[in-house]
């Protein structure tokens, strides 16, 4: 049974696109058949992060409006066979998306793939609403800072009321992905700590991605971090998150500042 997952946040710049690419690739590396869909019409980025920007011919809007077939618009990843991208259009805007068109495309994708991962645009307007509309699962990407947490809270409220599932009286499964977590700054009290964020948002934690050079480098190379540096701490955190999405129970490790041998020995855990 295919699952539709939306990666959303409300706030911009918190790591939605990076996380979409990394989670999509990680699920595919674990053997699932995955498509990542860019809903950020007009400001598309997912093609760059996936390293597919030179291969875009047709896009989501063409398919939604019936100008191209889905198979023509899907771009298969060159590194992993079972990972595909449905890019957004850069020359149009969100008004070109229609509710019926999006539903048709999502249903078609569900027949072909195990995971349909929708990369939501920032904001709470039409693009973001349509990206979450047909989701079964939501990953709420949050940075450990007050503005991001409050925007995430707003989005969680909308996931519980504006999605197709919510309107049918069902609950959408929601997970928190804490990104750009800087152990040093957290230790000095310059960032919200994990417990604070969890207490405010009160949804289960999917993973903590440390702030990392590897993530930045991977994005600029056009490769999801789980492919570019699979042995790194960020990639490992994404791999664990992907396995938790698949239903496995794995403890979340809070990244700690490396203070030598002792610091590494005592790592704190959050259930």
């Amino acid at each position: 049974m295919a699952k539709v997952l939306v990666v959303t946040s409300g706030k911009g710049g918190v790591g939605k696109t990076t996380s979409t690419a990394a989670l999509g690739a990680a699920l595919a590396q674990n053997g699932a058949n995955v498509v990542v869909v860019d809903f950020d019409v007009g400001l598309r980025n997912l093609d760059l992060v996936m390293g597919a920007e030179r291969r875009v011919v047709y896009d989501l809007i063409n398919v939604v409006q019936g100008d191209a077939k889905l198979a023509q618009a899907l771009i298969r990843d060159k590194r992993i066979d079972n990972l595909s991208l449905l890019p957004a259009s850069q020359t149009r805007d969100k008004d070109a998306l229609t509710s019926e068109g999006v539903e048709r495309v999502v249903n078609e994708l569900k027949e072909k793939f195990d995971w349909v991962i929708c990369d939501s645009p920032a904001g709470i307007e039409k693009g973001a609403m349509l990206a979450m509309r047909h989701a079964d699962v939501a990953v709420v990407v949050t940075n450990p800072e007050v503005s991001s947490v409050r925007d995430s809270d707003r989005i969680i409220g909308m996931l519980d009321s504006k999605t197709a599932k919510a309107e049918k009286g069902e609950r959408i499964e929601k997970h928190l992905l804490l990104t750009r977590y800087d152990p040093g700054r957290a230790a000095r009290g310059e960032m919200l700590n994990v417990e604070d964020v969890l207490e405010i948002l009160s949804i289960p934690l999917l993973g903590i991605i440390p702030e990392s050079e590897e993530v930045l480098r991977a994005s600029n190379l056009g490769s999801p971090v789980t492919l570019a540096s699979p042995a790194g701490t960020a990639a490992k955190a994404y791999f664990d998150a992907a396995r938790r999405l698949g239903g496995e129970k794995i403890d979340v490790v809070v990244p700690m500042e490396r203070k030598g041998f002792l610091g590494r020995l005592f790592s704190r855990r959050v259930a």
């Binding site: 007050v146 409050r150 925007d151 809270d153 707003r154 969680i156 409220g157 909308m158 519980d160 009321s161 504006k162 207490e199 405010i200 009160s202």
Partner: protein, 225 residues
């Protein structure tokens, strides 16, 4: 607390917006004293007295006007502004703001339609941007009220989580209403129009289990633990 209505020209357009608001929230003006700020109307406006009568015909209880132009016939008789020296007379909501918000936020949990229960229990957190308005009585929230969320009740408000947003109790002039919360981190609390912002709250109570009530026109707060 007096509600301030500030009509702006053209008046027929403003009145029809008001009618739309009344249609959405028929009890909104019930029992509320209203102050009309005429400052935005040009001195050439015709028949302001007739305009005020048309407000009263809509069931709005006008207790005074301000900003009226001296050249208008009968302006002296329209009453002085509501004495604001006692409690802060700041309007909590302008009707059009509420209407705008209600339109923008249909996702807020709503009381069961058709029921005439006098209490409302909400078993989930109130998320940022959501607004719960329950004029008939008490509201009990089992989760937290997020920063940027608000709960407004005709009666008391009980919160079995953290209060990080706004709680407004005693909406329709109920000075006996109280606010209880397990963890006070509120942006604003108000009872019967007397309000306090986070800056005014005693620092010693922040983060604690607290109740708030009115004694005369003073808000009192004390820790529950």
């Amino acid at each position: 607390m007096a509600l301030v209505l500030a009509p702006d020209p053209p008046l027929p357009t403003w009145l029809s917006a008001l009618d739309a608001q009344i249609a959405r929230a028929p009890t909104f003006f019930d029992g509320r004293p209203v102050l009309v700020d005429l400052g935005a109307l040009p001195s050439t406006t015709a028949d302001v007295a007739g305009f005020l009568r048309s407000l009263e015909e809509r069931g709005i209880r006008i207790i005074g006007t301000e900003g009226g132009h001296p050249s208008w016939a009968g302006v002296e008789a329209w009453g002085r502004p509501f004495p604001s020296a006692g409690k802060p007379g700041r309007p909590v909501e302008m009707p059009d703001e509420i209407a705008a918000r209600a339109a923008a936020l249909p996702e807020a949990p709503k009381p069961a339609p058709g029921g005439d229960a006098t209490s409302l229990v909400i078993d989930q957190p109130i998320r940022s941007g959501q607004s719960v308005v329950f004029e008939r009585g008490d509201v009990t929230v089992l989760g937290s009220i997020a920063s940027g969320a608000e709960v407004m009740a005709g009666g008391s408000i009980h919160i079995y989580g953290a209060l990080r947003g706004r709680a407004v109790a005693g909406l329709a002039g109920n000075g006996k209403a109280r606010i209880f919360c397990r963890k006070l981190q509120a942006e604003l609390i108000a009872i019967d129009g007397v309000y306090q912002t986070a800056d005014d709250m005693p620092a010693a109570l922040i983060g604690r289990s607290v109740q708030a009530w009115l004694e005369g026109e003073q808000m009192q707060m004390t820790a529950l633990d």
